[in-house]
Symmetry: C2
Subunit: 439 residues, 2 copies
């Protein structure tokens, strides 16, 4: 079988275009119900997609005056979707900066057990300024400190997942032995940030470890991904940038004792579909016309950590200095895009409105499939993070129009061949590392 | 309509009797699947019960060598059950000692939204010794300190739930206004334990506030319940003790500006059912015969914070001193029971095996209904926390045999008349308190 690509559906309430909720195709009140998400999950599963993904933050995002927000907390929502689906992977975002490893190890193990091995964790370090203020702090911890904590955090979580060996649950009614406690070990972790005795109060997850996903694109972020991540979500505007990122991350794996196929790199793409190219572009223009400029300026100001409210919309992006805090890679991407293409603030807002820095591509299903195939076969992607501009319509169109085209080309599965999220991504189940601790 | 009682199904993997998993009626492997819990939830809903409840701790409980443990984390499991049910309330345990208020406010709001107003929170302060060791501590915080933190914790959570006023979500496509930000307020909480700016990143829960449940029976615990709880789970061995507890808690409400009907008191009962009383007793003996004494001794030692491993099983309970740490009320209950009835260690273990200190009653459906009616009409209960000895059988029997008897007597609903958990318990939806903060 030829190498096949992997597809993740990145769900967001009304879609990824910031004006999606205002478009006639969306129903933003229905989008606040569980039923909306059940429908999306089933559509993605009908398309045989590898996984669903939910972003998250622990503060109110952006300006809710002008845009919808994620209503549901990802772990609770994905648990509800676990019962409504059978195959598709379920990836939830959770922060290592504002959580404790015992809780997250437990919750992801729980999601993995109740979904039969379909849980994934998108590890974030919470770059937002506002998040710190909800967790007993006056400011976010510095970038390097966040990653230091994230490193110890994931080590603790993996030890907890391994604290029950695979065969620990014996469940023998006759002898009265429920679990072989010789195979259950405290982890006795004592580190810089955490002191955790363990063991976890849940047997080893179905997948051994739920799938680990990461999206950091800074130097530290890429190094973290190369060490721990098994799938990487990334925002890349051009093929060249995408290829450079892909080669960079894959090249880093060796020094962590990993092979290039142990990590799947999935650039984001927001496909705006039409029967003709003209129809697709018309649809894009329709969405852009619904943008509230005040909202766009505020989002851009947050992204660049620089207040743009006083500048003319149709003038150039002023000097925003150099990166200070937040997401370095997104800062570079946005300022690079503005300079390279000489965009006005309004044009820049429009370019970002579709995917917050992720690539937006308007075209026919065949043109979209061409793009995916090109990046995939020319070494810039192992698959894609699909970010429909509107929901549910944009996902239904992708599943009904683009997926069959990819299947015809032999690039994508026509049936699920595995039962776990790791299985869909072609990744091995980690062996238990517990014996070292037990020695 | 006459006053009606409230029934909660307290779910546990194989049932509440500690030897349940060894009984021929249970299937302990199936009990580790989501489908087991879906079936239990649907059975309880068929019986028109008010709610389901899941206990929890953040360390491995008891000795898993001899007994099953809760596999799933309550919030993730109840989210999965939300999609599988339509009416029944969903009450999850979560600790105020090892969590942050922003996370719990968010997760319970999320469960409330996705279940259409059926979320409840059983507030615990984590008395266990082992839990502290999983959260960067060498020992559990002292009882009073835990309750101090719990008090500030619940105040922060309520402010966060109220940080969006009820009408904040406008969702007007034409004007482009998604939310009226004049109705969304930071909470700017700065206290002894927490500094939280807010607002929450979720609109106000369907119920205003998810139902607040508590089970503390110490002096501080009862005072906390009287101030905040809307339902109270409690372990009471005799009618007299139950009545004294009921009167005590109800009498405390006035000084918190609350009326007695604002709190529902639900003593636990594990009903062991038989077609005849003899059959019920035989079933109880059958379960007790499956107890592993080593397990019972260990559980009892933990409960009393006193190592009983060296004492003869058929001798009396030795002097265990006075209460030191852990659960004062459970210590008093257990030592009181042993002294009052002159029980040997083995007999005490058998008495506790059915419900860990909760009342066990073996009898016919009519006898069980008589007991419930007596406690209910004579002022010792507003309803009951039903703890089936085995699952699913014990719950199915209760629903099929006892519920119809209660319905015939006019003591229990024959159909749901409300759509929220608060509605089932006859409790009002709290008005938003946000205006005070906004002034």
């Amino acid at each position: 079988m030829t190498r096949q690509l992997h597809l993740n559906a990145f769900l967001m309430q009304n879609g990824h275009h910031e004006a999606a909720w205002r478009h006639p195709d969306t129903d933003p009140k229905r989008a606040t119900t569980l039923q909306h998400y059940v429908e999306l999950a089933r559509t993605a599963e009908r398309g045989k997609l590898d996984s669903l993904f939910l972003a998250d933050g622990v503060a109110l995002w952006g300006n809710v005056r002008y845009n919808s927000h994620n209503l549901f907390e990802p772990l609770t929502l994905l648990s509800a979707l676990a019962g409504a689906t059978e195959h598709i992977g379920l990836i939830a975002t959770a922060s290592t900066t504002y959580n404790e490893p015992y809780h997250l190890a437990r919750k992801f193990a729980s999601l993995d057990h109740l979904s039969g091995g379909r849980a994934g964790w998108n590890i974030v370090t919470s770059a937002g300024k506002d998040e710190a203020l909800n967790f007993n702090r006056d400011a976010r911890p510095a970038h390097e400190l966040r990653y230091e904590r994230a490193t110890e955090f994931i080590e603790v979580v993996k030890k907890l997942w391994d604290s029950w060996e695979d065969d620990a649950a014996v469940i023998d009614k006759a002898s009265g032995v429920y679990a072989d406690t010789d195979l259950i070990h405290p982890i006795d972790h004592v580190g810089e940030h955490f002191q955790v005795r363990g063991p976890l109060n849940v047997p080893r997850p179905v997948q051994g470890h739920p799938l680990l996903v990461q999206a950091g694109s800074s130097e530290t972020g890429k190094e973290y991904a190369a060490r721990y991540a098994e799938a990487v979500f990334t925002a890349q505007q051009t093929f060249e940038e995408g290829k450079a990122f892909y080669d960079d991350v894959k090249a880093r794996l060796g020094r962590h004792g990993r092979t290039p196929d142990e990590i799947k790199i999935l650039p984001g793409i927001s496909p705006i579909l039409g029967r003709t190219e003209a129809e697709a572009r018309e649809r894009e223009a329709e969405l852009n016309a619904l943008i509230t400029p005040e909202y766009g300026v505020r989002q851009l100001s947050n992204l660049l950590d620089h207040d743009l409210a006083g500048y003319p919309l149709d003038g150039p992006l002023p000097d925003v200095g150099t990166f200070t805090e937040g997401q370095q890679s997104r800062f570079d991407l946005v300022t690079g895009l503005a300079r390279r293409e000489n965009l006005t603030i309004r044009q820049l807002i429009e370019r970002l409105a579709g995917g917050r820095g992720h690539r937006v591509f308007a075209g026919t299903p065949v043109q979209v499939a061409d793009q995916l195939e090109h990046w995939f076969t020319a070494g810039a992607a192992d698959g894609f993070n699909i970010m429909p501009p509107t929901l549910p319509g944009g996902l239904t169109d992708f599943v009904d129009l683009v997926v069959p085209e990819l299947q015809r080309r032999g690039l994508f599965r026509t049936e699920y061949s595995a039962s776990t999220l790791r299985g869909h991504y072609g990744l091995a189940r980690p062996a238990t590392r517990v014996k070292e601790h037990a020695a």
